[in-house]
């Protein structure tokens, strides 16, 4: 009788998220060893070098931009936004998956997230840093960025608080700050681990200062738990609001192809879509190179692929709705805008994006696809390309052909447009690989809680 019950219990238990056989010690050592070693894998050196080379390209185009002005880009009226804003929206969207994983999945008690949240949050931070570059550089005189904030000044002017562009300043800077704080709170116990494990005096000093004297006391943990939950609760509406506000930059304008009410949910879904693609692009090679398959398991990849599929379907629905609205509205400008997208100068971009974002991801319905990391990696790259093209098409094709035919003008990117864009990919890679080398890429203390031995057994009164 007792045996029967036990068997049933085991069947009811959910499958373990991480591979069996780990102990508190081995989990700690495996994750910390990536940081606390003198040996650096060739993969790391190659990626870091590649990122650094592209970062130099970014700095080069930056210097040229500051010397000559935004004219080195292909932006000409009516397409004043061009690549800069496309890249801004793309990058900030990528960041959203990190916050989704760290905040929303925490609130939903999805403990599988524990082994991917740390690097996903790092991805968020660096993606937001790359995103932030573009509006700043696009201003032309980036050193005057503080004019966007309200402060008493001798010019006697103030920002226009009724403009979505000013909302963006607040939304993005809040997002960057909150992401950083959330990340740091999660890192605190792991920094203490590195402090205690590191044998190098200097490393111990630096990690010690960053860990601030964390000692894992029950009082610390109880406050830490509350803080994580509260920050997750704050970050959840925040992340949804950020891309909503970004979409306001478009919907509040009256440009045909922009002015529609479904943009906010459509942008948020697209953001999470591209963000999970980036998570997979980063996780698949990393877990292979560092032998972390036991911690970032196939289940993680599969779950991420499922989120990608779901958000991809929402994005697909949005495209259909966009087309339907253009036709059903009976508005000639609206339907012309869509017609231009499909057949005009940017038709190639539109059809590639439809293929990348709607057609290709349908392969994720198959379990074989979701459980083959190499295929998943390719699918994620396809989605990243598709989402970039989506931002490009929305921004550029709508601006290039609006109401007055006399003002139409096709935008063509210059080599400096490409250099700046590819340069930020370099910046991202550079920062991300620095992070991999210097901080634990998987949250050690949260993975410890996933181990079966972390459960306190029923009191055995002696």
């Amino acid at each position: 009788m007792a045996d029967d019950r036990q068997i049933e219990d085991e069947e009811l238990k959910p499958a373990p998220v991480i591979a069996p056989g780990y102990t508190f010690g081995t989990v700690t050592d495996q994750i910390a060893s990536v940081v606390l070693t003198r040996r650096t894998p060739v993969f790391w050196i190659a990626c870091f070098a590649g990122g650094f080379a592209l970062l130099l390209l970014f700095l080069w185009s930056l210097v040229l931009l500051l010397a000559k002005g935004v004219g080195i880009w292909g932006i000409k009226i009516p397409v004043g936004w061009g690549f800069a804003i496309t890249n801004f929206v793309w990058w900030i969207g990528i960041g959203h998956a990190g916050t989704l994983i760290s905040a929303i999945l925490l609130l939903l008690n999805q403990s599988w997230r524990n082994s991917i949240n740390r690097f996903a949050e790092a991805m968020t931070l660096f993606a937001v840093a790359c995103a932030g570059m573009f509006p700043l550089l696009h201003m032309g005189r980036p050193w005057l960025f503080y004019w966007m904030f309200p402060y008493p000044n001798s010019m006697g002017v103030q920002p226009q608080f009724r403009s979505p562009l000013v909302w963006d300043v607040f939304a993005v800077s809040t997002y960057a700050t909150v992401s950083l704080l959330f990340w740091f709170v999660g890192l605190l116990p792991d920094l203490a681990t590195l402090r205690d494990r590191s044998e190098n005096r200097m490393a111990r000093g630096i990690y010690g200062i960053l860990a601030m004297g964390w000692r894992g006391s029950a009082r610390h943990w109880s406050n830490h738990d509350v803080a994580s939950l509260l920050l997750a609760g704050l970050a959840t509406p925040l992340v949804l609001s950020v891309h909503t506000v970004v979409s306001f930059d478009f919907t509040v304008a009256i440009v045909p192809g922009w002015h529609s009410t479904f943009f906010p949910p459509y942008f948020v879904a697209g953001a999470i879509y591209s963000g999970f693609a980036m998570v997979l692009v980063l996780a698949i090679p990393l877990r292979h190179v560092y032998g972390l398959q036991g911690l970032i398991t196939d289940k993680h990849l599969e779950n991420s692929a499922k989120v990608m599929l779901a958000t991809g379907l929402i994005v697909g629905y949005a495209y259909i709705l966009e087309t339907f609205t253009a036709w059903y509205s009976g508005n000639v400008y609206e339907s012309a805008a869509l017609w231009h997208r499909m057949t005009g100068p940017y038709a190639f971009a539109y059809w590639i994006l439809i293929t990348c974002n709607i057609v290709a991801p349908q392969a994720l319905w198959f379990k074989r696809m979701r459980s083959t990391p190499a295929l998943l990696f390719v699918a994620s790259l396809v989605v990243l390309v598709g989402m970039w093209l989506e931002r490009f098409v929305i921004i550029v094709s709508s601006l290039a052909q609006d109401y007055l035919i006399s003002s139409w003008r096709v935008f063509t990117p210059t080599r400096w447009d490409w250099a700046t864009y590819v340069g930020t990919i370099g910046l991202f890679t550079f920062l991300f690989f620095l992070f991999i080398r210097l901080l634990p890429m998987i949250s050690i203390f949260e993975v410890r809680t996933l181990l079966p031995q972390a459960k306190v057994e029923e009191e055995t009164e002696g």
């Binding site: 607040f170 601030m212 006391s217 830490h224 509260l230 009191e459």
Partner: protein, 177 residues
């Protein structure tokens, strides 16, 4: 009148022994004790009778202050300091204030959550006696520690050590100041 040592510390192999030991110590009447573990253990909060965290209140106050700051800043700028008359539209256009009010609410609340956490944990703390125990470095890896502090009225160097020894401890050490 400072006690000669900070306290006595016992090391455990697993969370269950730690929780049981903490429960025993409470039952014995010890009150000034703390448990150290490499990950959060919910049961400890209950066993050690830790007070409810004050953090939610701090965050609430921070959020309210942030919201007020956001709204009043925009009101002041758009209505009083720098009014722009656009075809006679009302200056106090509150629906347009919502986004920034919301963002500043979140920002202030998050900042107060982090600083509140640090304040409630007493961090940054450059020195703490528990680190004098050499094996305490394992508290952030795989071991669990219970420390009964010398300022506990029931504390007696010998008796407390013996008591901790009688629990399921791997070893018991004195913690120097």
């Amino acid at each position: 009148m400072k006690p000669p040592i900070y306290g006595v510390m016992a090391e455990f192999n697993n969370p269950t022994s730690l929780v049981n030991a903490a429960r025993e110590a409470r039952a014995r009447g010890y009150r000034k004790l703390d448990a150290y573990s490499p990950f959060p253990i919910e049961e400890l909060t209950e066993v050690l009778h830790l007070p409810k965290s004050k953090l939610p209140l701090i965050v609430l106050i921070g959020g309210i202050l942030g919201g007020l700051t956001g709204y009043l800043m925009q009101y002041y700028v758009t209505v009083i300091y720098f009014p722009i008359n656009v075809a006679g539209r009302p200056l106090h256009s509150w629906p347009m204030y919502i986004v920034i009010t919301f963002e500043l609410t979140i920002l202030f609340a998050a900042i107060s959550a982090v600083f509140g956490l640090l304040a409630l944990c007493g961090l940054p703390m450059p020195y703490h006696p528990v680190f004098n125990v050499e094996r305490f470095a394992l508290a952030s890896r795989s071991r669990f520690f219970l420390c009964i502090e010398a300022r506990d009225p029931l504390f007696d160097r010998k008796a407390t050590e013996e008591f901790l020894d009688s629990l399921d401890a791997r070893r018991v050490t004195e913690v120097a100041h």
